[in-house]
Amino acid sequence: MNSERDLYRGLLRDEALMANLIQSLIDVLVVVDRDAVVQFINRAGEDLLGHPSSELVGQPVGAIVTDENLQFFRAIRELMTTGESRHCDLELVTRSGEKIPATFNGSVLRGPGNRIEAVVGVIRDVREIRRLVRELEDAKVGLENTVQKRTRELAAAKTRAEQAYEELKTAQAQLIHAEKMSSLGQLAAGVAHEINTPIGFVGANLRTLREYVWDLLQLAAGYEGLLGAVERSDFEAARGEAERGRALAQRLNARALLEDLAHVATESEGGLNRVRRIVQDLKAFSRSEEQEQTSVDINEGVESTLAIARNELKYKAEVIKELGPVPAILGYPQQLNQVILNLLVNAAHAFDERTKTSVEGDGSPSKGTIWIRTFLRGEAVVLEVEDTGCGIAPEHMAKIFDPFFTTKPVGKGTGLGLSISYGIVRKHSGTIEVESHVGQGTRFRVVLPVQAPAADETEKPGEEPERRAA
């Protein structure tokens, strides 16, 4: 039995069996017998481990494999019992004690009677592969870090942009409000006059009423005397009182006084109602941005805006209302009123310009006409403000909707009116068009869809207001 095994060992050790091929392999080829003794190792193994083959052959395989590599022994055990090839990792130990990570591919060598006599292992140094894997992993970690850093930077940039956007939105809202206040400021003198007129005649009426009351008190005193005389049955005195009373009534024109009294009271009430109406309109007008969309009646908006602007307009132009039946639209009534007011104020200013250049024969400034129209066109409500004023110069046409563009003197306009009106109309999914002829007049047309979608605040930069100049 022993001699048979020895014979086989001899065969394994016989250099003649080892082809040149095996010696020139890059991988380590090692043969280990059932007693864990190295029976052969090729040149690549000698080079890698630093031992000459003669030092390794005959040694237990544990001399070149570290203790930690128990999975190597499990693989060997499975190889020995099943005969099926096995793959595992292992760690080699060189002569100088260096540990080299490697992979092991084992298969069995069978002897006489098909008995498993030895294990043939192909061992590959994986240091280079491990190094490449580490480099890849490092690169991956580096990449992940870079991506995380970039993501953080992007998030920060986004936050900054959002902040800036919020600030801009606030600034825009403030600007819109400021422009509205400016328009109102321009109207202040007119509004003051509008309030002053009724206050003036109500005051005058009150003075008249006080005189009437004085007269009535005198009459009352006469009647007091008359009543006293009657009660005393002093008919002589009563007759005298009655005559004085009648004379007084005649002198004071008591009948007319009583008639006028009612008239003066009614007139004063009317005047106070006018003041109340103006104050209400102003209050409604100067209110800040409303939050919710509501149903808007454009004609109502025209009426209340005209109430405020009436005085500003009435010395410059005759305002002709042509308000057609229009359905309510969904939107922000205060903002739409701001648009109407802005168009009306612009129209009024168009006459300021003209009076400077064109004066009637008798030297008095010509009074223009402003038409304000509403009508339904298809599925949209159209609001037109047309004037017979100075017109817009063609070279200004491209800029009239730009913020801060104005041809008005300092203090007269902010240059924001049309820009803000444009924004408001866009918010209502509408369009604003202008047609103007220098020296003849201008017509602004606002088209507001009846079924306006929920407030779309994003303006499409490509869509420009339509301008036509002649």
């Binding site: 007693d35 237990p60 544990g62 203790d67 128990l70 022994f73 060997i76 020995m80 019992t81």
Partner: protein, 129 residues
């Protein structure tokens, strides 16, 4: 230095062969026995430095084998091999002078340490006596 001789007694040839291979790979000289009777027979032929003895074997079990080893070979270091982390027969084995326990699922490197410790203790005891 002469290789340390180990006798491995285990009725499971698969396990015995793997452990033998590992011990050989680590430079021990190994003989195996498949049961208690074979173990006692091998011991009468040639005395190893240390014995790995499976507790659970059919016929004569590890405890009985250990008892007989004590009778015939006195203080020979014996490490008991068990499949379980705890075994009620460990106490009995300890009273019979077992120098360690090796669990089958444990790494073989534990077996190497047990051998080293057992031989070291033996040397000290001899020096003391």
């Amino acid at each position: 230095m002469d290789a340390i001789e180990v006798l491995l007694v285990d009725d499971e040839p698969d396990y015995a062969e793997t452990m033998a291979f590992w011990l050989k790979a680590k430079g021990y000289r190994v003989t195996t026995a498949a049961d208690g009777h074979e173990a006692l027979a091998k011991l009468s032929e040639r005395l190893p430095r240390i014995v790995f003895l499976d507790i659970m074997m059919p016929g004569m079990d590890g405890i009985e084998t250990l008892r007989r080893i004590r009778r015939s070979h006195g203080a020979l270091p014996v490490i008991m091999v068990t499949a379980y982390a705890s075994d009620e027969r460990m106490g009995e084995a300890e009273q019979l002078g077992a120098v360690g326990f090796f669990q089958k699922a444990a790494d073989f490197s534990v077996a190497a340490r047990l051998i080293d410790r057992a031989l070291h203790d033996l040397k000290q005891r001899k020096a003391a006596s």
